[in-house]
Amino acid sequence: MIRIFSILAGLAFTLVLALSFIDEAVMTAKDGLPHTVEAQFHKHPKELSLSTSGAFGHFDRQQLQRGFAVYQNVCQGCHALKYVAFRDLKALGYSDAEVKAIAKNAQVPAYNAATGEVKTHPGLATDHFPPVVYGGKGNPPDLSLITKARHGGAAYVYSLLTGYEAVPANLPKDARPADGLYYNPYFANLNIAMPAPLTGEGQVTYSDGTKATVDQMAQDVAAFLEWTAEPKLDKRKQTGWPVLGFLLFATVLAYMAKRTVWADQH
């Protein structure tokens, strides 16, 4: 009895699925497979190899400091970094005094409950990077987590920064950038409100003497943003190897114990 009900129920679902399939197939035959402009023109991030790549990769502090300089000089005007505290910068190799000096340059807003006023004060090492007030077109995202919040991670940031192109001649009219938008095939919908931020060599002066080419600056800031998104990356990998080593050792022992226990049963 239960099997007759089951077969009937199964056939009912099958019927509706078959009708759905026929419906979809007819529509697809009429309209063809969906064809979006994004699918044709959108590009996957370029290859980017950073010092953090791979299971043994770790942060390059020199590069992080350079990337931080790019952030300060180029990105900071529009993009906040709210999950990062100034004290975190010590991981980049700055001393306590340097961190305090960097923090002091920032104006951090604080709400005073007694007066109801919001007043800014020079930043302390314990403060987070202050919010950025942006009045222009578009909606600049907070960059703290950007490399974890986009497919491709640091490679995406690098590709976006170096990927501005002239609008292709065969780009359909309604996909062309509107006023105040710029064509960038690495951006999800091809048209981004951010004008190319890295404009030319020497835009940032590096204190370690590295030549600040556009490509170099893009790599450095991508590396820096990988750090802001995952500051514990080094610790994670450093912990991972001993843990796996121990587990491998324990598993080999467990295997030999199993062999010994089962020896009389094979």
Partner: protein, 423 residues
């Protein structure tokens, strides 16, 4: 219960004898996972996954309780508190990555455990209750995992919650009111987040309770085995300890290597980047996809696109729930007297098609809701329903199984004088 030849717990130390008289807890453990539990001698490595699932539950509860000490279930700070755990809490990043990937590991293990159950028909008499409790655990796991994914309050958290609670809106007449009642509002917000957190904390302990029932029910008939032939004599079994504790120990080591490999070196691979963007009710993500372990069922939900008597959406919701609820009926749908797929040639062919079919459904469920994925998932969903509702009942009554070994001992050693002389 146990077999007559099960070893009896005999404490030698006076303190243990004293304890055994007042509260026989050591005796309970001895009979459950010690030398007092005789287990078929021929279990393969698929039989490790029950213990592994229990281990995953323990990992999830421990890491989860620690995370709950630092997490704030409030829509205005939930995302921030997750980042606080990742950045400022000592080893918080490890706890969160272990918990998030622990959920995936739990599902990998449980899906393998269910695969074992399907192939070796572990659901058949006398173990129906073990199976029913197991499917219940799986349903509870899905609810728990869904609500846990909402807690970081990222974009996928928010929109996933919206889509899944929206399913209840498909129910005729009461759907909309039900959805508002479940969410505590018109859209997911603080009320929903708080109740999801409360339930996400509660349900694992409910799961733990059902797991205890699951093991209790298992220990009445004893474990099944790859031949599907029941235990007949002492030579068919080995004591759980040391034989299966040793085997499970090795399996656990392998599992932990894979698990911690992902936790330490690929912790975000199974997640979705959009969940690192704070929830924004004003901005819908381009593709709303659940976590990978829901993909096959998500594909079934979306496969229904045609209004036939009922609205397509309601068909989808019904089908998605029936796709799992039908598992409850398996002991009565599959009437073949032979358990193991090893001796069921026709069943085996259809079963392998099902495994492939579920993988295809999973792939479609993780892809955008557009062609050609929709049509592929419709064909795959047709096979899914035919397999459980139609093929399984029919195959089990028409197929001619291969000859079974006369006992487990014979299957292992190639000969069994005791069983042969009895026959």
């Amino acid at each position: 219960m146990s077999f007559p030849w099960a070893k009896e717990y005999k404490p030698s130390h006076p303190a243990m004898q004293w304890l055994d008289e007042k509260l026989p807890l050591p005796r309970f453990v001895y009979n459950a996972i010690g030398a007092g539990y005789p287990v078929p001698r021929n279990l393969n490595y698929f039989w490790n996954f029950g213990i592994l699932a229990g281990f995953c539950l323990v990992i999830q509860i421990i890491t989860g309780v620690i995370l709950a000490m630092h997490y704030a279930a409030n829509a205005s700070v939930a995302f921030e508190s997750t980042e606080h755990i990742m950045r400022d809490v000592n080893w918080g990043w490890l706890m969160r990555y272990m918990h998030a990937n622990g959920a995936s590991a739990f599902f990998v293990v449980v899906y393998t455990h269910i695969f074992r159950g399907f192939y070796f028909s572990s659901y058949k008499a006398p173990r129906e209750m073990v199976w029913l409790l197991g499917v219940t655990i799986f349903l509870l796991m899905m609810a728990t995992a869904f609500m846990g994914y909402v807690l970081p309050w990222g974009q996928m958290s928010f929109w996933g919650a919206k889509v899944i609670t929206g399913l209840f809106g498909a129910i005729p007449l009461v759907g909309e009111s039900l959805q508002i009642w479940l969410l505590g509002g018109f859209a997911p917000d603080n009320a929903a987040l708080n109740r999801f957190f409360a339930l996400h904390f509660l349900l694992p302990f409910v799961i733990l309770g059902v797991v205890i029932l699951h093991i209790w029910a298992l220990h009445i008939p004893g474990s099944s085995n790859p031949t599907g032939v029941e235990v007949k004599e002492e030579s068919d079994t080995l004591p759980f300890h040391p034989y299966y504790t040793a085997k499970d120990g090795f399996g656990l080591g392998l599992f932990l290597l894979f698990y911690f490999g992902v936790v330490f070196f690929l912790p975000n691979t199974l997640g979705h980047p959009d969940n690192y963007i704070p929830a924004n009710p004003m901005q819908t993500p381009a593709h709303i996809v659940p976590e990978w372990y829901f993909w096959p069922f998500y594909a079934i939900l979306r496969a229904f696109t045609f209004d036939f008597i009922l609205p397509a959406k309601l068909w989808g919701v019904l089908a998605m729930f029936m796709a799992i609820l039908v598992w409850f009926l398996l002991p009565w749908l599959d009437k073949s007297p032979v358990r193991s797929g090893n001796y069921r040639p026709l069943f085996r062919k259809f079963f392998y098609v099902l495994v492939l079919d579920v993988l295809v459904l999973g792939y479609c469920g993780g892809s955008p809701a557009a062609e050609p994925y929709l049509m592929v998932s419709q064909i795959a969903a047709i096979y899914y329903f035919l397999h459980f509702f139609v093929i399984l009942p029919i195959v089990s009554s028409i197929e001619r199984p291969d000859p079974l070994p006369s006992s487990i001992t014979e299957a292992v050693l190639g000969h069994d004088e005791a069983a042969a002389s009895k026959a």
